[in-house]
Amino acid sequence: MADRSMAKAWIPPYLLSAPALVLYLAMLGVPMLLTFILSFNAFDFNKGVIPIFTLDNYIEIFTDSYFHVVFARTFGLALLVTVICALIGAPEAYILSRMRNPWRSFFLVVILGPLLISVIVRTLGWALLIGGSGVISTTLQSIGLIDEPFQLMFTFTGMTIALVHVLVPFMVIAVWASLQKLDPAVEDAGLSLGASQFTVLRRIVLPQVMPGILSGSMIVFALTASAFATPSIIGGRRLKVVATTAYDEFLSTLNWPLGAAIAVVLLIANIVIIASYNRFIERKYAQVFG
């Protein structure tokens, strides 16, 4: 005899998720599909988008050295920002975890709160700090440490600093989450067995928070690779990244098919990197952390 409740249980979940599903298919599925198709269309400065099938856009991206530079800069920037975030975010999370309340909660909010403040505002702050007439430059000049204006605007270094600032909270969150799972007694156990504080950190704490550092790295890497506002404001016209390039193709040059192709390549590169990185983490840590 068929189970009556089993047969009925199919319908409600689909009804409940129907509104969201419909919206997603219409507002996410269709646009993504259209973009994918657009990336295979041709473009003419006089006629606009020509709906034929061509691989020219992708061939241009993969052969033109201009795009090579842009992609290399973007992913190099992402790598650098990720490494710096790991190097400063992980220790900060550890220090936070060793604080007492209310200090711990207070500093957690201070460090993570900026995530809720507009990226434009945060980037503006850096522009004010590191510009040629910015605070750091004028201060250093006025106390005679440097003679000429000190300019980090429109430099790779400036972009790196600003992006680290924008994204390091994500690293702190990820490492913090894995620190919460850490049994506080393991450090004492290590110390009781004669290990130094440093050895305990290196041999006992670090391996256990490594999954947190790795997943934080993934988030920071992906967000840097697709960052737009900060590279655009700090990097300016000269130091273009993939996101700003796609923006210019769409809204300045109006070569939509090429812009769409750049977006598709960025999306696929992002997904490939995240997926393979995920796989690597899973393979490496599946046994230990199940």
Binding site: S17, L28, V109, S118, S133, A222
Partner: protein, 264 residues
């Protein structure tokens, strides 16, 4: 309880300064009395805060951003609540896939979403409309709302619902009197987070915003591309203050660490 050594505290201090410095400088510069970027050397002046009121473009954009965020957060919650209950309550074919699909906008760079929505809108004739813009923001904020509602719904005591049911309550009464009040902190937290995310969004919106639907962050972005003046600093200061107030509210109703870090 372990304690941090002096080296750790120095590192911590530098880190906190690094985090707060750009925000602090924005707030300080906003009080300058000069016509250009500088520190308020002659004491604080409200000149640039008054300037905000004399710039109707920014005021208009503020209202657009506000309505947009209100609309997007509300619609997102309205569809996230039933979807979360479906995913938490039922085991059905495609459950995992559905959850991944609903969370997928987190994985897509906002630039790509911007490109996709721009293309979509020109095809279906929604360009420059507030409705279209709202739906794009629903897609973007939905994962944030969904995660909090999912967490709240999965932490829900199913026995409480069964108890209400056994005491004679109808399914609708159970939802209204038991389920909804119990997931309310998650719903409220999700709404505020969705609101803030929508209000701050710039990368995607810059593609689809028309002159009549230019949000505040987009207008600020365009303004920065032209010139950086103390007006931006004063507007940013207002935004920082409003965000901090919202953070305090959020912390009261849900716990800020829970929202930012996830469960517990």
């Amino acid at each position: 309880m372990k304690t941090n050594g002096p080296l750790a505290l120095i590192f911590h201090t530098v880190f906190v300064i690094f985090i707060l410095a750009p925000l602090a400088i924005v707030c300080v510069v906003a009080f300058t009395d000069k016509g250009y970027l500088s520190l308020p050397t002659n004491g604080p002046s409200l000149r640039w805060f008054r300037a905000i009121l004399e710039n109707p473009d920014f005021i208009d954009s503020f209202w657009i951003s506000l309505y947009l965020a209100l609309g997007a957060a509300t619609v997102a919650l309205a569809i996230a609540i039933p979807a979360s209950l479906a995913v938490v309550r039922y085991r059905f074919p495609g459950r995992e896939g559905l959850t991944a699909f609903f969370l997928s906008p987190l994985m897509i760079p906002h630039v790509v979403l911007g490109v996709a929505f721009l293309r979509f809108f020109t095809e279906v004739g929604l360009s420059g409309t507030m409705v279209g813009l709202t739906f794009t923001h629903v897609i973007i904020v939905m994962p944030y709302a969904l995660r909090l509602v999912l967490a709240a719904a999965s932490g829900l005591d199913r026995d409480a619902e069964k108890a209400a049911h056994s005491l004679g309550a109808s399914s609708f009464t159970v939802f209204r009197r038991i389920t909804l009040p119990l997931i309310l902190p998650g719903v409220a937290g999700g709404w505020v987070l969705a609101f803030i995310t929508s209000f701050d969004e710039v990368t995607m919106t810059v593609f689809v915003a028309s002159p009549s639907t230019t949000t505040l962050p987009v207008r600020m972005y365009h303004h920065i591309a032209q010139t950086i003046d103390p007006l931006l600093a004063s507007i940013s200061t207002v935004l920082i203050v409003v965000t901090v107030i919202l953070m305090v509210v959020l912390d009261r109703i849900y716990g800020l660490d829970k929202i930012l870090i996830g469960k517990n």
